[in-house]
Symmetry: C2
Subunit: 429 residues, 2 copies
């Protein structure tokens, strides 16, 4: 198989003709697959249904400490849920607040609070002329939507194989007091599946921010979402590293069971220093009387502890690993030899991030849509939806069935080839 880059104009034109025929055949199939979001498949959701067999009208819904989970109270969550979520974040139980059904809402609230009330006594951000957040790219579109909603200026930070470009992060955080935060998905990053190296985590912990109210927003969304059991990426626990560096107030960590039990019906949590925790609880005491303790009860009784979580996640991996691998296989066969795209084969997480030739992403997503495959909008993994290179495409392989995913990957490969050929032809005009 020949690299497209080495083809003559005539060879490319010939290839294009064949691909157009292939594409026309695909369109005949009237496919309708949705690969836009990182959603668990129904089979994955089935894995947690046992949770509803451990609760019935006969259950005594009391915590270990005797609190009635059916009544008001316990603003920071029940102890056993704090302990469980501390395991996700590798921090101590005392550093945890258990929240509602989504870590996204905690992040939103945390920023909203900073806007109106500042951080640990700092000036409210809404009174400042400029507030900036660093955004490692490609990244998670919902993070960027929050910062955009609050009018926070977003600064792109390139991702490397070891995490964000830390030279740039250090320069901006340590040198610019309008930089108030950085969004991080440190393990199996969304969308690339990169896990930050030990050095990266340590450099984060060693930051000396110009702004006292700068915080690292450490969204450990895929903390336990390994695809290959013990052959997994290991992330240094940021909170412990910050403690060692004396910078424990600098980080907020987030996690949830959204892709462990039920998406939108799990529990979420935040880990942070004692001072940050007090600050947050002050706000929360105005906002709520407490989160859903019955759900905390069912989750802790069902998952038990981190061993239970790992065993549970191994079942998820059984279901989704083949889907990741079929995408990897097809891209390896169809794309790699033709030198028209690259990707990282992740050991976990929910995405495969495809890097097309520059200027091709939007066209590929449009082509795929024409063929009945809905992909995440090109540009979505970038602040303001703008991918400066128009090259990044996020693939979400978990939701479709395995054969659907295989078919979708083949169609995707065809679209990539067709758009790449067109691009190369237009270049050589």
């Amino acid at each position: 198989m020949k690299s497209y880059l080495q083809m003559t104009r005539e060879e490319l034109a010939e290839e294009k003709k064949e691909l157009e025929k292939e594409f026309a055949d695909i369109k005949e199939l009237s496919l309708d697959f949705n690969l836009t979001r990182g959603k668990p498949s129904p089979r994955q959701l089935d894995l947690s249904m046992g949770m509803y067999d451990i609760i019935s009208s006969a259950s005594i819904l009391r915590t270990e400490a005797g609190t009635d989970c059916r009544n008001y109270g316990s603003l920071d969550g029940i102890d056993e849920a704090k302990r469980l979520m501390a395991g996700f974040m590798d921090c101590s139980q005392e550093q945890v607040i258990v929240h509602g059904n989504a870590s996204l809402s905690i992040m939103y609230d945390t920023i909203a609070r900073a806007m109106l009330h500042g951080v640990l006594g700092s000036a409210p951000w809404c009174r400042l002329d400029k507030v900036k957040f660093l955004c490692p790219v490609p990244g998670y579109d919902r993070h960027f939507a929050i910062t955009q909603y609050f009018g926070i200026e977003m600064v792109n930070i390139p991702m490397t194989a070891k995490g964000p470009d830390m030279d740039l992060v250090e320069q901006l955080v340590n040198g610019d007091d309008t930089v108030k935060g950085i969004w991080c998905v440190p393990k199996y990053s969304n969308p690339q599946g990169i896990t930050y190296s030990d050095e990266t985590v340590r450099r984060f912990a060693a930051l000396k921010p110009a702004a006292e109210d700068f915080r690292i927003y450490w969204d450990n969304a895929y903390a336990v979402h390994d695809l290959y059991g013990n052959d997994r990426d290991v992330l240094l626990p940021i909170m412990r590293e910050c403690e060692k560096a004396g910078s424990e107030d600098m980080v907020y960590e987030f996690c949830s069971t959204s892709k462990v039990t039920f998406s939108g019906a799990g529990i979420s949590a935040m880990g942070m220093s004692e001072r940050n925790r007090e600050d947050m609880l002050k706000q929360m005491s105005v906002q709520t009387i407490g989160h859903d303790k019955i759900k905390q009860w069912t989750h802790t009784r069902y998952l038990k502890d981190m061993d239970g979580v790992r065993a549970h996640m191994a079942k998820h991996a059984e279901i989704i690993r083949p889907k990741f691998e079929v995408v990897h296989k097809i891209l390896s066969e169809e794309i790699r030899p033709r030198a028209i795209g690259s990707w990282i084969k992740p050991k976990g997480g929910y995405f495969i991030c495809f890097e097309a030739m520059e200027g091709c992403a939007r066209a590929i997503v449009a082509k795929a849509k024409e063929a009945g495959i809905e992909l995440t909008a090109a540009g979505a993994p970038f602040p303001y939806g703008v991918d400066p290179r128009d090259a990044t495409i996020r693939l979400a392989p978990t939701f479709p069935d395995l054969d659907e995913m295989e078919q979708a990957a083949r169609v995707f490969a065809c679209c990539v080839r067709l758009v790449s050929v067109e691009k190369l032809l237009s270049r050589s005009e």
Copy 2:
């Protein structure tokens, strides 16, 4: 039995001596009752445990429309939950957004959004020099905590037997464009148990606010919380009245199942006009992917419809009505003839509001505490915790057992008598 007001100084002194002896005997009992919050009792919470018998690992957790409740999505809630909550608010299903476990959080979010993003395009309140909220008093302390947290100036509005003093409300809302909202608990108000009259509701709907971003925050927390079955207060539906008056954008209505099923583990909802709903969903789409649909599923399957809700609430009433009545009985026997306090006998809700002699509330609460009865802090039902007359005490009879409540009411009556005698003696000095 003689009114204290007609007693001579000698009679009062004699009474005081006897009461002091009685109080000393009470202290010997080392009571420990908590009447601070409106919490359901365990027996009430038992009423909803059947909800966990209708869900098991074999359940198909799909909505009527076929949506998988276990996965992401449905930002505004599932249709059947919208329909159920529309019944609470007597509005149409299309006007409802179903939220998480607490209406308090929706109220907080709604104000936070107005602070940072304004209301339907108005200037964000954080940019204004002054923002005021009207607070019918006595009222709900958690409402006042929200407005205080956001630095909103609170203006006391006296309650009457028909609701807030509407002359004053009209004057302030229609004449002052810094008045952006009013907190209302329109049915079985917290703490007095007053239901707004039809005329009051119509006058609310007919307000012509000076501020375009003025909203009525209609916290219909006790919509179905009747104590006497069909002998219940009937509240005019504000949303329908506003539609008739062409002021449908002026009201946000809130409700929840916190005191129907589980406190902190129920579902909540907001009702509003189409324009307000769009405005809210825009913000919510940044804040969350959606609320817990499994809980919406279990709630709608368990409660079914408003007939189901009424039947369920009748069981609550069976449990709590005797507690309200014993308080009423003891106060009628011990306090009324002595003319040292008044209260309304409510037909529903969660509280009895006791009006002591002016200047006595804090002393009574302190005395009760000395006797082992924890009451809501005096002043709590007022903005900034300041009761200008120091007279209002909120009693929450639902949580204790019936005999505990009876005992607590007797102790309370003793404390009221003792403090009142002391007050009268100090006056006549």
